[in-house]
């Protein structure tokens, strides 16, 4: 790889989270029986006319605003003509010459270094239907099945400049982009359901050269891992072709997850010629600048700004802050609990620990419950170990942490007057072991600690136990 620079550009399709489709009123929900959410408009039957969903335009503009784009009050729809089984009209309504948004950027971290990738454009378009191939992939399928429920769902296509240079960087860009889309609530961005999809263009050029090489488009990247792996594979394949004096063919390739490689997917018939022209069935969009201002006012704090705030105002480490940024629900809880005067780091550690696992299974606790529990530990009423016990019962019982502590008689026993008799009893019950310990069999010490803890149902303060036990044994 050392002789080449890698150049990667991404095209990301994001399905917008509207109730109804882009140009008709069919439902957009995932998982319905095939071809049950279709109407004459999205099936492309003759004589139908599309009508634009206002929410889709709003979400498109919101995505553009969150990505620092220029929002064009005037934008236009175009008709992109091609035959493909997932496209019922044999054309896609998209925006070609006058897209809704241009000239944005996204910043993201790669190994603690901040990168910035330019967003060339964002445009609105309609989704195609879903194909299910009979074989392992499109390449070896004798036939395919088509579900048009997806056809006509509103999409934005986000196009980056070709300024990504490593497969890992591409993955981290996409992860950050997904997080941003979730923050602004325009998409559920589930790669496994296809509501976030990514095609990648990749080419190699001699190191330092300013002339771009021939690019290859990779499709069928269904996960972040697939994106990174496919790019790594293609980087290697192209460098081998070029090093061997060969020529990279400009083509589309599909990623085969099972085989771990990209495969050529030459389509039947002619090279694509989309004969794009202005969409006669839709007037151009003329957005009211005030409406766009209102959308801008509704863009919430974005992931990178939040990361910086958590580091700066709460003194959190990059690691802790990243956890909170990546899991907004946890972050909300953090803010609410932190407000109640608890140590910021203690709160994050708590949220990242057993709590995270339990909350994912059973849903979140209220900030009130969490701060009460942390306060009990903080003031020394219960130990860390007891806190775990209280935590797991908090998820099932309606009691507050304090009530659970009372009900179970949980508390830390650190009064020597209460612990001394227990320790003497334990020692008296095992005279043999005491002698062996005093003869140098030191590993028996922990046995006695264990016995004391057991006799006190785990309530004894370990530090006090150590102190008293050593005293007794030294006698």
């Amino acid at each position: 790889m050392t002789n080449f620079d890698t150049v990667i550009g991404l095209e990301i399709h994001v399905a917008l989270l509207t109730e109804s489709k882009f140009l008709c009123s069919c439902k957009t929900s995932f998982g319905a029986p095939p071809n049950s959410q279709c109407c004459p408009v999205c099936l492309g039957l003759p004589g139908t006319l599309p009508l634009i969903n206002e929410k889709a335009v709003e979400y498109g503009a919101k995505a553009g605003l969150a990505l620092g784009c220029e929002i064009h009050y005037f934008s236009r729809f175009d008709r992109k003509n091609y035959f493909y089984p997932d496209l019922p009209k044999a054309y896609q309504i998209t925006q070609d010459a006058f897209p809704l948004c241009t000239n944005g950027f996204l910043e993201y971290y790669v190994d603690d270094q901040l990168f910035r990738t330019e967003i060339t454009r964002i445009h609105l378009e309609e989704e195609a239907g879903k194909l299910i191939h009979s074989g392992q992939s499109i390449v070896d399928s004798e036939y395919s099945l088509v579900d048009y429920n997806r056809a006509g769902i509103p999409l934005i296509e986000i196009v980056t400049a070709p300024d990504i240079h490593h497969p890992k960087q591409a993955r981290l860009f996409l992860e950050q982009l997904r997080l941003l889309m979730r923050y602004i609530g325009v998409s559920d961005t589930k790669m496994e359901e296809g509501s976030l999809r990514c095609d990648a263009n990749i080419s190699l050029k001699p190191k330092g050269s300013s002339v771009l090489g021939t690019k290859v488009e990779i499709k069928n990247l269904n996960s972040f891992r697939a994106l990174e792996r496919a790019l790594e594979y293609e980087e290697l394949r192209q460098s081998q072709v070029l090093s061997g004096g060969g020529v990279v063919r400009q083509e589309s390739r599909t990623w085969d997850e099972r085989a771990g490689k990209t495969m050529s997917m030459r389509s039947k018939g002619d090279a694509p010629d989309y004969r794009i022209f202005p969409e006669p069935d839709l007037p151009p969009l003329n957005l009211d600048p005030v409406w766009v201002e209102l959308i801008a006012a509704n863009v919430p704090e974005l992931p990178l700004a939040r990361l910086r705030r958590l580091e700066r105002d709460y003194g959190l480490s990059r690691y802790d802050a990243t956890f909170l940024v990546n899991y907004p629900e946890f972050c909300e809880l953090f803010f609410q609990v932190a407000e109640r005067g608890l140590g910021y780091e203690d709160v994050v550690n708590f949220l990242m620990g057993d709590y995270a696992r339990l909350a994912r299974e059973k849903g979140h606790l209220s900030a009130e419950r969490i701060s009460e529990l942390l306060t009990l530990v903080d003031e020394g009423t219960i130990s860390q170990g007891q806190a775990k016990e209280v935590l797991s019962s908090l998820f099932s019982s309606g009691l507050s942490p304090r009530e659970i502590v009372q009900e179970r008689g949980l508390e830390v026993v650190d009064d020597p007057g209460r612990l001394e008799p227990v320790i003497r009893e334990v020692l008296a019950a095992n005279p043999d072991l005491v002698r062996r310990l005093q003869d140098g069999e030191t590993k028996l010490y922990s046995f006695f600690v264990g016995q004391v803890m057991r006799a006190t149902q785990g309530k004894a303060d370990p530090e006090v136990v150590h102190k008293l036990l050593r005293g007794e044994l030294g006698k």
Binding site: P33, N35, C39, I52, E54, I132, D273, L282, L285
Partner: protein, 97 residues
């Protein structure tokens, strides 16, 4: 100019099957369109703003509201080959060499 090959190519892109006589006919018709276009190109439009749509309309947006779709069996009745609720289509890409 529009030659026969242009017509054949356009027909193929639009999945149209044309007879020899139709190819000749379209060649003439399309050549006529192109020369009309040439004439229009001579008009000075430097002071005129571009038109995006034949009719002057402000965009009409609809609210994001769901309406009923067609029943599945009716949808499927529009295709020649169906299977388990899906439309079934033949091989999409060429076999690997």
């Amino acid at each position: 100019m529009i030659d026969r090959q242009d017509v054949i190519r356009m027909a193929r892109l639009a999945r149209l099957e044309l007879s020899e006589a139709e190819i000749d006919q379209y060649q003439q018709d399309l050549a006529g369109f192109v020369s009309s276009g040439r004439k229009l190109q001579q008009v000075d439009v430097s002071a005129v703003e571009g038109t995006s749509h034949a009719v002057v309309v402000t965009h009409e947006l609809r609210k994001d509201e769901v309406a009923e779709s067609l029943p599945q069996d009716l949808v499927l009745s529009t295709g020649p080959d169906v299977s388990d609720g899906f439309f079934r289509v033949p091989r999409i890409v060429e076999e690997q060499e």
